[in-house]
């Protein structure tokens, strides 16, 4: 790995885009974008969803080819025809969706495609595991390279990807929203690693939705908006507000909109809910017109609470009451019939049928609402119903016939919400309601949540974004290890208090936990 430590020369960019454009049918994804990356810098790339960040990354990692403009590497015009070529050139990308083989162990993953050979076709496993230990040690991770990747948490899997990049002698490392799915502590560890790599002269592109992270880790920032370059500037010379302005092109007056509702009757009660090894004595209630926030680290059991209430996972004991009456929720269908709605964390995998149209997604949970004879659900009725919601929720889509996969994150979330509005649900579980949603669209989601409350809905909101939890919740329940360990409200509710309750235990403990 000696050649990683190349002499740091700041004057000349290692990698540069010159006037690059990329078009897709009906969309200009990138328009005349120039960008440069120096050795030993962390260059943060920000922009709303659809701003062109992913396209830029895909151009650099060889997945897409530019339609116009050029890419310079070491000052020479180059083409990056494939992901393989990108790697050979020293450009490694850690994508949001990790590219690991879960059933193979860490060592085989790290050296996948570059296994040391004893003879042609015969792998030298001893040397393989020896080589795999090097980057793991360099990253400060004493992991056994014979452990299956499947058994690692997302944060550690990400580190394995970075180790893979080190083995590939990456000179450019692209991290695509690496902190989206990991906890704050794990992010700290990641930043330490990024710092180390920077010190060795690796040029790093860091994509993030969290501006605090940008300031914490970055040297320079490039802002994209609607496929165009807004500006590139040193982070020392700017602030969050200024960057948000550049991202959205307007001032964001208020992130968490005013709410008029006040808590009323208890809509949902949960008493001593248990699921062996997962949930322990979960007891809480949610009133109409209030948001109860569920805070905690990933793996604390928040999503599991949602799944238990919604009848996805069976519970071993405990009672659920709706409007004061005990109910049995054996499966999601029963939950839907009782007026529950789940907006899952992973919208694409659990909330939407991406290949289906907006209209079909909207009516999925309640085709009976379309009052056609004989239980028929004619496409025309579906479209009419869906159009109502597209208008009311201001869903941006060319038509209700558009496939759901082509919508932005915020609009997809609105489609999922429409689905539940159609079932006339009144107890909503929002699991990470604004994950992967642009700054501007977040506020819209918050507004919609407030609207629900004013109509008498009760909301449980699971969120890993502390400002969101604090800004939106009437009460906050903090979870750890499958238990509710604190309830905070009013002045008690601070980031510090939440983190104190949520994170008892070290990273090391959690590494072991994962196993």
């Amino acid at each position: 790995m000696a050649d990683l430590v190349s002499p740091v020369r700041d004057d000349e960019p290692l990698l540069a885009l010159r006037g690059v454009g990329k078009r897709f049918p009906g969309v200009v994804a990138l328009d005349d974008v120039s960008f440069d990356l120096r050795r030993g810098e962390v260059h943060v790339l920000v922009g709303e969803n659809g701003a062109g960040k992913s396209t830029l990354v895909k151009l650099l990692s060889g997945i897409y080819q530019p339609d116009s403009g050029e890419i310079l590497y070491d000052g020479q015009p180059v083409s990056i025809p494939s992901p393989y070529a990108a790697q050979r050139m020293g450009i490694s990308t850690v994508h949001q969706e990790l590219n690991l083989v879960p059933e193979l162990d860490i060592g085989r993953n790290i050296l996948l495609g570059r296994e040391p050979m004893l003879a042609p076709g015969i792998i030298d496993y001893r040397s393989l595991y020896r080589s795999a230990r090097e980057p793991l040690a360099a990253l400060g991770l004493p992991l056994d390279p014979r452990r299956k990747v499947r058994t690692l948490g997302i944060a550690l899997q990400q580190t394995v990807e970075i180790a893979k990049a080190l083995i590939a002698n990456a000179r450019v490392l692209i991290l695509d929203e690496p902190t989206a799915a990991i906890t704050a502590e794990e992010a700290d560890q990641l930043f330490t690693i990024v710092d180390q790599l920077r010190a060795r002269g690796t040029a790093i592109i860091f994509i993030s939705h969290h501006l605090e992270e940008a300031f914490r880790i970055g040297d320079r920032v490039t802002v994209l908006r609607d496929g165009r370059l807004v500006d590139t500037l040193p982070l020392a010379a700017t602030n969050q507000q200024a960057i948000i302005r550049m991202m959205v092109g307007r001032e964001l007056i208020q992130q968490f909109p005013e709410r008029k509702s006040t808590p009323g009757e208890v809509a949902l009660g949960v008493t001593r809910l248990n699921r062996t090894g997962v949930l322990h004595d979960i007891t809480f209630e949610v009133r109409r017109g209030e948001i109860v926030g569920l805070a905690g680290l990933i793996g604390a059991g928040r999503t599991e609470v949602a799944r238990a209430i919604f009848g996805i996972d069976a519970i071993d004991s405990g009672e659920i009451t709706i409007n004061g009456l005990p109910v049995r929720v054996a499966n999601p269908r029963a939950a839907v019939r009782r007026g529950l709605a789940l907006l899952p964390e992973d919208r694409k995998a659990q909330g939407l049928v991406l290949l289906m149209s907006v209209a079909d997604n909207v009516v999925l949970a309640a085709p009976g609402q379309m009052d056609a004879a004989g239980g028929l659900v004619p496409p025309k009725n579906r479209a009419n119903v869906a159009r109502r919601f597209v208008d009311a929720l201001r869903i941006r889509t060319p038509s209700v016939g558009q496939q759901a996969r082509l919508l932005s994150g915020g609009n997809q979330q609105k489609v999922v919400l429409s689905k539940w509005l159609l079932t006339e649900a009144d107890i909503f579980i929002f699991d990470e309601p604004t994950r992967g949603i642009d700054v501007g669209a977040k506020v819209e989601v918050y507004r919609l949540m407030n609207d629900l409350l004013e109509r008498g809905a009760a909301i449980i909101m699971i969120s890993s974004e502390l400002p969101e939890v604090l800004g939106m919740s009437d009460r906050i329940l903090v979870m750890r290890g499958g238990r509710i360990v604190a309830e905070l409200a009013g002045l008690d509710a601070t980031q510090e208090r939440i983190m104190q309750s949520a994170a008892a235990g070290s990273i090391q403990e959690r590494i072991e936990d994962v196993a």
Binding site: L355, L376, P379, S399
Partner: protein, 330 residues
């Protein structure tokens, strides 16, 4: 284009994306171009007599492929359809031949048996949570074995000697249009209506597109999957009626390998084997395309072994084109 504008034009933009257009236009264009080519090489091809012949040849595959479209749209597969046809046919045939049942009840039995066999597949798939490929690989053998056992492995010939009216399903016609063609059209239209207008149709796409999200929306997945496999069985039963009538016999080895033709027609028609995407119109075109190729090659005196090779190549080509289209719109 804005919502309002598209509404004003009365357009449903759903189908007007490049990918969707290609899904139907691609196979249709292939069908037309191929037909024109064959016509040019052999004018007899376009004679009404021959065209009806093509339609008749397409009928068995088209009927089965209609049911298969539903199964494949849910992300499943049914390898047992050929065996279902055989077992349904044998059951009805035995009732007429051995027990002297009249025509109508025997026909009904064939369809019902088909439906039941389909439900058996569906029940094992849903309750046992076993991949449909494995389940139907097993039932393919079981159903075929049962059909052979029931008849001692021997065909029952000359069914019309017992029930003369039974011939109407295979050799009859209505205003010159052969019964198999009419039956196929009825099955096809029914399938199209179900897919487009009913919950079963909506959920068929939804389950194939994202089973988890569909379940989390409160849809009883198992019930609808059962329905889809049942429907597949019913089409097999209908095919059994038509085919036994046309052959004027019931044979335990009938429709061997026909499941592959049905799957091929669905795939050529642009339906994704991963489920969630595709259309029943495409399937009909796929079935016709296969029949046109067979017929055309026969007219041109190409030996039948070559025909098989060509059909195989078309299947691979269709998927290849589909793959390229997806990459383009990804």
């Amino acid at each position: 284009m804005s919502n309002a504008a598209s509404q004003a034009l009365g357009l449903d933009l759903r189908r007007i994306t490049f990918g969707n257009v290609w899904q139907v236009i691609g196979p249709l264009a292939s069908l037309i171009i191929l037909s024109l080519l064959i016509w040019w090489a052999e004018p007899v091809f376009m004679s009404p007599q021959n065209l009806l012949n093509v339609a008749r040849q397409a009928s068995l595959t088209a009927i089965l492929a209609t049911g298969m479209t539903f199964v494949i749209l849910t992300g499943g597969i049914d390898l047992s359809v050929g065996s279902m046809v055989a077992l349904s046919s044998v059951c009805g045939g035995l009732l007429m031949w051995e027990f002297g049942w009249p025509m109508w009840p025997a026909v009904l039995v064939m369809v019902v048996v088909g439906g039941l066999l389909g439900l058996i597949n569906g029940a094992i798939v849903t309750l046992g949570r076993i991949p449909p490929f494995i389940v139907t690989l097993g039932t393919m053998q079981i159903f075929r074995g049962a059909a052979l056992q029931l008849t001692d492995g021997k065909p029952i010939f000359d069914l019309t000697a017992f029930q003369p009216s039974f011939s109407m399903w295979g050799t009859g016609d209505l205003g010159g249009i052969p019964a198999p063609v009419i039956i196929t059209l009825v099955v096809f239209v029914a399938g199209w209506l179900i897919l487009r207008y009913t919950r079963l149709g909506l959920y068929t796409y939804a389950i194939g597109g994202n089973e988890q999200a569909t379940r989390f929306s409160g849809v009883q997945i198992n019930r609808y999957k059962l329905g889809v496999y049942g429907l597949m069985g019913v089409t097999a039963g209908v095919a059994a009626v038509m085919w036994s009538s046309r052959l004027n016999s019931t044979q335990p080895t009938v429709a061997t390998g026909e499941e592959l033709n049905a799957i091929a027609a669905v795939v050529i028609g642009g339906t994704s084997l991963f489920g969630g995407e595709g259309s029943i119109v495409g399937t009909l075109i796929g079935a016709l395309l296969m029949a046109v190729i067979r017929n055309g090659l026969t007219l041109l005196h190409v030996p039948s072994f070559y025909q098989q090779m060509v059909i195989g190549a078309v299947v691979v080509l269709a998927v290849l084109i589909d793959r390229l289209r997806r990459r383009e719109t990804a």
